[in-house]
Amino acid sequence: MAQTEFFRPGNLAAALDLLDQYREQAVIVNGGTDIVERIAHGGVRRAAIIYIHEIPELRGIGEGDGFVRIGGAVTYNDILASPLCCQFTALEQAVKEIGSPSIRVRGTPAGNLGTAVPAGDCCAAMMALDAEVVAASRQGERAIKLADLIIDYRRTALAANELIREIRIPVVPGGKTASAFLRLTSRKGQDIAQASAAVRLTLDGDVCRHAVIAMGSVSKVTVRAYSLEKAVAGKTVADAAEEIKAMVPAEVALRAADNPAFAARPTANIERQYKESVIGVIVARAMMTAYGKILAGEQ
């Protein structure tokens, strides 16, 4: 193959032009915390590297139309410094768990979603928060719900000439709603989640009116736990949490055949048993954390 060319477009239009020109032959580098390693080790080779991290239009955080809007090149550190973003406890908690300070100063939530690995901490948090992304190309823009964006292991619904311009999280009035993210790791930091859960809980008195539950690291993609959401609806939080603890949600899919991320590992069977036995506990803990937030009068 010919030499790889490196582009640093100065604005969004220039980036979209390049993407349109190179399409499958291009790789987007944003924070670069995942992709640069893959490029350096020869796992990803393309004719064009398009570096979008410094494009001004992608760097903002704002509010409008009932959404908090997070630009495609906004970093984890930007999120933690933003009261707008930190109103979403699940997002704040997920971002705090990611990597190390040196990763968080570079890495981006949009990159986390675009990479689409099952352990992506932001993916679970964003899914529970019912987020969507705005995909931009020269042909225009479209909004994609997170559950529709992540379609397979390291695969998204983005077209070859699209990039994530913005992430939108709907603002839900506080008081009766709160969210939480929690993960289980072998050590306490700089580790990949064995299992993770994000919950957005809405109460009616002491009863779960509505819960959105997302799980990471228990399938080839981040998944919504509809079975648990159904199981908890209409129950008191304490009862619901107790019931969830012992459940293996139907959405957990850890059979090797379903899961390329999992297939080659010699310990796959032990990992499966372990993940199946703890995911319920993790979800229950996340739910109790969100419940605690509501009781404490926090959003």
Partner: protein, 739 residues
């Protein structure tokens, strides 16, 4: 900061701050790969993708076409390098697998070296070297069908040198209480933050090597042999080492390749290998297995101890740690029998890694002690007390032994008496609490060293020795010792280490540096004092005061420089000459007239979640006795770091091996788990005063390799206490506690 700098007790030196601390935190300290050289070429290693077989074809065309590529060394180009005999630790070659093929003896074997104008070009080209292999099925580890276990004759030959006393089998058969248990420890890699680097610079026939090393004189002499040149043509420089833990003690194959490349190019060459390559181009701690049988009387006295070990090594090299040498002497056992069997597989050759023999073998012993205590219904501490003895089963006496003092101090600080014995009986909500303890031990080695000390009239002192501070504190304690011995302020002392232009020091291994270089330093300082006192009381018209300047003036000299050599008692008279030739002789431990060990006791609390089985270690207390403590701050750091490594060994660390391909799976710091700060909570280090005038002139036993011994057993013992589940295979992973 009181805890970081414990108040010195009897026979302990003050906690002066680290001599090299400021240089290291400000970036002023230059590690070998930081040293700038003019217009270097950059090297990138190409390593084998199979573990066993042959290279059939190597296509270099695409690699050579990468702009900036200067040269690519393959097996053909390196035939002139001589083979250097493998030496099992200490010095010499780390492996006898030194060729670049075509035969492949392990995964990740160096098969080519790409040289280019930039690191990026070298790496790019290395990825483009296209190799066709004829692969054979490799033996990955224990139980592989084509692994070769030593024959009974080979095992019997080794057993002759291992501890044996009485008729252990008979004693076991007639014992009132017995246990029979098997344990396993995994492979581990050193994973020092500083990677394996080499910079080679020729100036005519003179070669300078900048490479992180624990023994520059060893590297110099072995490299000379490999290159077929006179050792006097080589200088090796390594003033700072960014972590080594044993991995930088011996000569690995890369050094000669880089030196050869620099000679071919007529230009300095710099190599900084990658993290994954570090798993295969140097050594590691190999996996071990153990079977321990013990017999005891009802009162706890152990009458029979049989310890069998199995150790993995490479196909050609008989690397062995044989820690039964230590486990069999730890207590006053009645009768003892020991055996060690090597198993050869298609792997790179293992080597020294922090506390090589005692980490796996004392783990097995201390786990078995806990199992026996349970069987006897005895408190684990009391079982150690019942078998505490100043003599081992062979009748050898200890020079000093403060084990029970360590147990008593640590137990008191920990609150051990509140423990309820029954597993699972201590609980805090969903968390199961377990308390466990174990012995830490490290043999006190003895080694020779030379040193040069210079004193000027202004009171400036310079200490020079080619020993190494691998993060251990040697700079600091030598400065302290020199200041003390010569009566000058600490900031007047300059210490120079890690350069073959200096007098030779011992390998930074076996926790021997402080004792060896310190003992030589004390001699040199005494000689300087003697010359000062020899000054005439007064000269006509000259100064009569006692100020250093006056004394020098009366002596009529500008400076005093003394060179001294220290050879430990019982050492060979040519020990220093051997050191110059890169051969360190280490004695002591269990090998001399007396048993010499630094000892300790570690107590841990674990919390295991009843549902998820998450394991936390909220606190660990260790009490240690190691003869004279030179500096309570650096000593505490060493011991604390050791205990943290012990926690890591118990709960996180293991090199995973793909059994089909004999390759390491988790060869990066994301997958090779070590604890982060948030995993480590309260770590308390207690220094127990101890005096031992027999070990060496300064009375220091050495403690660099003490803290990480026994920790894993203390944790598995605590896990059993919490859950009733006995983990006999490290590390303890959550999934092993399920069900």
């Amino acid at each position: 900061m009181a805890r970081a700098a414990p108040k010195p007790q009897a026979n302990m030196g003050p906690p002066v701050p680290r001599y090299d601390g400021r240089a290291k935190v400000t970036g002023d300290a230059r590690y070998p790969s930081d040293v700038p050289v003019a217009s270097p070429a950059f090297a990138f290693l190409v390593t084998s993708a199979i573990a066993k077989g042959r290279i059939v074809r190597m296509d270099l065309a695409a690699a050579q076409a990468v702009p900036g590529v200067l040269d690519i060394l393959t097996a053909e180009d390196t035939r002139e390098l001589k083979h250097v005999k493998f030496a099992a630790g200490g010095a010499g070659a780390s492996t006898s697998i030194q060729g670049l093929g075509p035969d492949i003896d392990h995964d990740g074997q160096i098969v080519a070296v790409v040289l280019a104008d930039s690191f990026e070009a070298a790496r790019e080209a290395a990825h483009k070297v296209d190799i066709t292999y004829a692969a054979e099925e490799p033996a990955a580890t224990f139980d592989a069908t084509n692994a070769r276990e030593e024959s009974p004759e080979e095992v019997g030959e080794r057993a002759k040198k291992l501890p044996k006393a009485g008729d252990a089998a008979a004693a076991l058969a007639s014992a009132e209480v017995t246990i029979d248990a098997q344990y396993a420890t995994p492979a581990q890699h050193h994973n020092a933050i500083e990677l394996f680097t080499t910079t080679a610079l020729w100036s005519g026939d003179e070669l300078t090597i900048y490479e992180p090393s624990q023994f520059v004189f060893g590297l110099k002499n072995n490299l000379a042999e490999r290159l077929g040149i006179d050792a006097e043509q080589i200088r090796v420089v390594s003033p700072y080492v960014g972590g080594a833990f044993g991995s930088k003690a011996q000569m690995t194959p890369r050094t000669a390749l880089i030196a050869l490349a620099a000679r071919r190019l007529g230009r300095p060459v710099k190599l900084v290998s990658t993290r994954d390559q570090a798993f295969t181009i140097s050594t590691y701690r190999a996996e071990t297995r153990h079977r321990i049988r013990m017999g005891a009387r009802r009162d706890g006295r152990i009458t029979a101890f049989i310890h069998e070990g199995w150790e993995l090594t490479s196909r050609p090299d008989p690397y062995s740690v044989a820690g039964v040498e230590d486990s069999a002497r730890m207590y006053g056992f009645g009768a003892v029998e020991t055996r060690v069997t090597l198993v050869h597989a298609d792997r790179n050759t293992p080597g020294f890694m922090r506390s090589p023999p005692v980490v796996p073998y004392i783990y097995a012993l201390e786990s078995a002690m806990d199992e026996l205590a349970l069987e006897l219904g005895m408190d684990p501490v009391e079982l150690r007390r019942a078998n505490n003895s100043m003599r081992d089963a062979t009748g050898k006496e200890w020079s000093s032994r403060s084990l029970m003092e360590c147990y008593d101090e640590a137990a008191a600080a920990f609150g051990w008496k509140e423990r309820t014995a029954r597993p699972g009986s201590m609980r805090d909500g969903d968390w199961l609490i377990g308390w466990g303890c174990a012995t830490a031990a490290y043999p006190t080695h003895l080694g020779p060293s030379a040193v040069r000390v210079r004193l000027t009239p202004a009171g400036e002192v310079r200490v020079q020795v080619a020993a190494h501070d691998i993060g251990t504190g040697l700079y600091t304690v030598l400065a302290q010792l020199a200041a003390d011995e010569l009566g000058v302020p600490l900031d007047m002392v300059r210490v120079e280490l890690g350069d073959t232009a200096l007098p030779p020091g011992i390998v930074a291994g076996g926790s021997v540096s402080t004792a060896a270089t310190g003992s030589a330093l004390v001699k040199a300082c005494a000689a300087i004092r003697e010359r000062l006192t020899a000054a005439p009381a007064q000269t006509t018209g000259g100064p009569s005061g006692n100020k250093l300047e006056d004394v020098f003036e009366r002596l009529g000299i500008g400076a005093i420089e003394e060179y001294a050599e220290f050879i430990p008692e019982g050492g060979k008279p040519d020990a220093i000459a051997s050191l110059y030739k890169g051969k360190p002789a280490l004695g002591g431990g269990s090998h001399g007239e007396k048993l010499m060990y630094a000892l300790g006791a570690e107590f841990v609390e674990v919390r295991v979640h009843a549902l998820t089985r998450e394991i936390r270690v909220p606190r660990i207390v260790g009490a240690f006795a190691a003869g004279r403590i030179m500096n309570t701050r650096t000593a505490r750091s060493q011991l604390m770091g050791g205990m943290i490594w012990g926690i890591s060994s118990a709960l996180h660390e293991a090199t995973e091996i793909d059994r089909r391909h004999a390759r390491y799976i988790n060869d990066n710091l994301a997958d090779y788990l070590m604890p982060v700060n948030a995993d480590i909570r309260d770590v308390e280090v207690i220094l127990v005063p101890e005096e031992d005038s027999e070990v060496n002139p300064i009375g220091a036993k050495g403690l660099g390799e003490l803290g990480n011994v026994g920790t894993a057993a203390a944790i598995t013992n605590a896990v059993h206490h919490a859950t009733g589940v006995r983990i006999r295979e490290l590390p303890v992973r959550l999934e092993k506690l399920l069900g």
